[in-house]
Each structure stands twice: as C-alpha cells, then as structure tokens.
Symmetry: C2
Subunit: 362 residues, 2 copies
Amino acid sequence: MVNRIYNFSAGPSTLPLTVMETIKEDFLDYNGIGASIVEISHRHQIFLDILENTKKLFRELTNLPKNYKILFMHGGAQMQFSAVPLNLISRKENKGSYFITGRWGILAEKEARLYGDTEIILDGKTYEYRKIPTFNNRKLDKGTSYAHLTTNNTLYGTRWNSFPNTWEVPLVADATSDILSRIMDYSKFGIVYAGLQKNLGVAGVSIVIIREDLIGNALPQTPKLLNYDVVEKQNSLPNTINVFAIYVMNLVIEWIKKQGGVLEMEKLAKKKSDLLYDVLDDSSFYKILAFPEHRSLMNVTFNLKNETLLKKFISNSEKEGFFGLKGHYLLGGVRASIYNAMPIEGVKELSSYMKEFEKING
Amino acid sequence: MVNRIYNFSAGPSTLPLTVMETIKEDFLDYNGIGASIVEISHRHQIFLDILENTKKLFRELTNLPKNYKILFMHGGAQMQFSAVPLNLISRKENKGSYFITGRWGILAEKEARLYGDTEIILDGKTYEYRKIPTFNNRKLDKGTSYAHLTTNNTLYGTRWNSFPNTWEVPLVADATSDILSRIMDYSKFGIVYAGLQKNLGVAGVSIVIIREDLIGNALPQTPKLLNYDVVEKQNSLPNTINVFAIYVMNLVIEWIKKQGGVLEMEKLAKKKSDLLYDVLDDSSFYKILAFPEHRSLMNVTFNLKNETLLKKFISNSEKEGFFGLKGHYLLGGVRASIYNAMPIEGVKELSSYMKEFEKING
C-alpha cells in the first residue's frame, strides 16, 4: 500500500489518485512503444494524438463554441499577464481595464502598464479583498481593448459568483484556480486562460481559450512564443511543448469526464466547501476571511485567534496526515485548497479535525 | 521486465534508465511525504532543497566561476531567442551579432530584429550548413551588445569544435543539444543557455547561466518572466516553476556525476559517435552530411541514395527495436541523436544494423 496523505496545497496541488497511478504505471513504457511519453518527439503522431484528444475533450466538457480556439503556452498564468496586453491592448485605444479582486489582478494590471494605458474599473482593496465590490458597467469605457478579471482568488478565498456584463468589450478571465470546477458560458468571454497546476495537472503551461476574431492584434514587439497568432497557426507547437503537462492534463480531464463532467465537479465543490464553511460558521473560534456572498469553493481561508494557536493548528494537522494547510506567506492564516481532485473524504476528515481542535483549544 | 527500446529521438529524448526508474518509484510518494513531488508547492522547503541542490551540482560539474548565476526560465531555448535581445541588446549600440550555423541561429537572429539591429557575422548557408565557416574576429564590431552562436546544430549534425574569441563582446551560446556532454570554459561566455529536453531532462524549461554583470540591462518592454533581473532576484521563482523538470534535471545530473562527470560524458560521446562515423566513412552507400572537422558528437546525420532505401532503412530499424531515427522534417535523411543518456550498447547495435543493411541493400 502506498502512503498518501490529504494534500491541501494551493498549487501545485493534489491530483486524482487514479491519474497518478496511470502515470506511474506507464512511465517507462507508454502504450507499449518501449519509451516514456517524456522521451519522444512532440511532433510524433503518438504525442499529436494526445494533444488533439486533450483539446477535443476540453471542448466537450466545456461545451465550447466553435469560434473559440484552444492554445497551450509556456509559463503558467503569469506569462499571460504579459501575453494578454501584448496581444490585445492595441485593438482599440491602447488601453486595458482591470477588475482588481486580489493579488493576481494587481500583478496582471501592473504588467499591462508596460504596453499601454490601464484603468482599474473595480478595486476590492477597501474591503481587504474579502469581497468582490459591486460593478456598475455603465462606467466601462467603450474604447478600452479588454476588461480583465480573476475568477477565483486563491489568496483571499473569494470568487466571482456571476460574471459582469462588459457589453462589446471582450472579457478576459484568469480562471487558474477554478477552471473546470464550475459551469461557465465561454461565449461571454473573449479569453479564458489558466495555469494547469491546480485543476488541470502539473506546472509550467497555461491553456488559453480565445475567441478567434481576437487573434492577430499582437504588438510588433511581442516575443514569438507569446504571440497568439503564431501559437495558433502552429498548433501550439512553435517549439518544444511541455509534453508531460499536456499528457497529464489529458488524463485529468478524462477523469473529470468519468466523474460526470463539470456539473458534477461543481456540485462536489459546493458540497466540499459547505463542509468547511459549516464548521466555520458554527464557530466563534475560527475567523473566516471571505464575505459570505463571495466565498470561494476552491480555497477556504480562515484564521485563528493568535499566532500560537495558528502554529499549533498547522503543526497538529501535519501529525494527523494533512499537508499544505499553511496560508499564503503574504496573508498568513490557514488555507485549505480543495480543487476537483481533493476527495470529499479528505474534507470530511479536515472538518472533524477542525471541530476537535476547537473543542480542545477553544 | 519492462520493454525499453533504443530511442534516438532528437529531443525530447531518451533519459538514463536508472533516473526513469527513480521517478517511477517515487511518483506517488516523494521521500515518504505521502504526496508526489508534482503535487506540492514550489515554495515548500522540500522543493527548494531540490532547486538548490540542482544549482550546486551544476556548478560543481561545470566548475562554474563564482560570478555566474544560474537561472531557470519557462519555455525552452526558443524563449531565450527573445529573452537574450530583450535583456542584452541595449547594453551598447542596440545591436546583436549572430553566428548562423543552422536553423536555430536563423530563428534566433530573426527574433532579435524585433528589439534592435542585428548583424550576421558568419553564415554557413553557402555550405548548406554542413560546416562552420572560419571566423575572422577582427571583423567584429566592438559596439555590438553581444555575439550569439549555437554550439551544436541538431538538424545538420555539426558543431563548433572550439569557440571563437569575441574579445570584450559577450559571447552568448545556445548549448541546448550538447550541454554537459563536453568540457566548456564558462568564463569565456557571457551567457550559456539550454532547453532541458535533450541532455538535462524533460521539456518546458531552459537553464540560463549568466555572468552577473550582464544582468540589469533589460528593455522596458521585457515581460516580467523573461527579465533576467526579476528571475535572478526571485531565485527563479517569480511564479510557479516547472517543478517536475527541475526534479528530473536534478536526478539526471546526479547520474552524470556518478558516471564520472562531464569529462567522462565527453569521452563517451567521442566513442559513441566514432562507432557511427566509422561505419559511414567506410561506406559509399551512406552519405554523411557534416564536414569531417565539424561533425557533431550528439547528432549523427546521413542520407541514403534514394527515398525508397531511406524509407526501408527507417521502417526496418523500427522492427529491429530502434526508435526516432527519422531526420528533421526540413532536411529528411537519418538522424541518430546520441545524447549522454544513450547507452553505448544502443550505438553498437545501431552500427551493426547499418552495416547489415548496407550488405543486403548496397
């Protein structure tokens, strides 16, 4: 029997056990070819089939409209903080608009300033990012090239429950931490992108889902591998792709399909997060960070009364077989990341541990 | 017994069997933590130790001078085709100089034109890249910001046997296909970079070895993750690093150390390539592409008299248990890539196959 703990890491994060077992099983000899999938050319038909299958299955799971393309690019979501303005900002009046609901939005807006003007159209700062402020879309400048938001904020444990209407301004979403965990109508977005290392597999690559008419507006100084037009025309293979990450994503989304698809993932996410929020709501011992109406279903963040109790909570949790509960270094506290691959049993055990810890230390 | 063939793929390419077995063995449970190395935070001490150890061991194996930094960046060598000019071209008169000895040099020079002037200071085109022309370094403009070369040309099977003296102009080398297979004096270079997927592991990341005084010259429009200064200051962790690739590289270079280090790798490369070049030199049936004085020790390229024989050679080789011998799609012919991890037994078997094939079809 292999030793596996409940791993609540925020990303890279736990993957479905059956997926991990398949990777292990096939690692020295993929499909009987006598070599590993990580040892063969990204232009070999064996890998091209995996790449095609991954895109096909993602389309199926998301009911993706035909006029959207799927690209894979190096570097995770932060590389897209550069790629989005490089590829879109010159569409209209060289301006990008940003919804700031946490750290990733702040970094995305900062990066865009290198390439044009930016405008902050919503800022959760006054609420310490514990809620998403109300947005009045009549304030949106029609001359802006795009409006960018972060669907779920891993640090603060908040999320957009429904997305703003930005009219004809293309809405660009960083969905790294909740992609394929909720039903999304992709036709409402210009671009949805995500690093793969939370709900889609391992680190190093981002998926970019883009409405095809938005391709072809790159600034002249766009590095070749960040140019959506180049990446799209070359089937995400302008250079050597991260073969391992695509292979793992393919297995992860096959697993999601077997679980019943995105709707089932959404129901499960609701169930799992409720287990933890119920404990927190019933308690005056723990303090939830997020406002009730914007609580994340992926990252449940809370704090304890003081540093001593917090340290004890974390250190005891590790003895109990939990891993990765320490909050982000900028924020402290506790963060339980419960992406698709976290089994409900793990969340149940954590909720029991929390109740028990409160009973003893409360 | 696991089925493993001799895999001559040009990259991604074969990895040492013991390394592959370790990855497989530890895949579900790294070091008894109860989670995989791909499932934990890149900021966790467990991963930071791997990162530090990888850098330390690389320094040891290359005898790297203290004033050089080691960075890991997303995207493989082609991302550096952009990063090098973005970070260096403004040092002097906004100009980069290029030695063109094959396809990768061509692409690197083309990319640099986005950011300044470029000058081609050597071009193997008239020799169809079958040799490296002689370079007269008195022709080098002292006002150029850097001079860029490709140490080994995977497509054409050629390499620089010794490197040009560019005086005070920093020499920048793309060493993707022969890094750690030959003794190199890093103090002669400003930057040496390499994608990891040939001699250092799996695809998706490049290593950048840079003389520290060259850091800090990035153009203002440099994307954050391509900025050497940002990457260096943040210990290669400005965002989520490709954890798996670093972990694999660590195992690969530990394996190199166990084999006796870079000098042993160089001796082995000479031995292995000699086995194939001897067959080719003794034959009028096969035609070597590279001129004798610039033959690559990593990629042995040759052709047959006609397409029918070539097809038969490839298809029979696959039946015999060889994989990946088909040449690059732009060049055709045969390419046997024999990086560090290719065992000498595989090369011996290939040379026997070549002799046998000639006997029957010659």
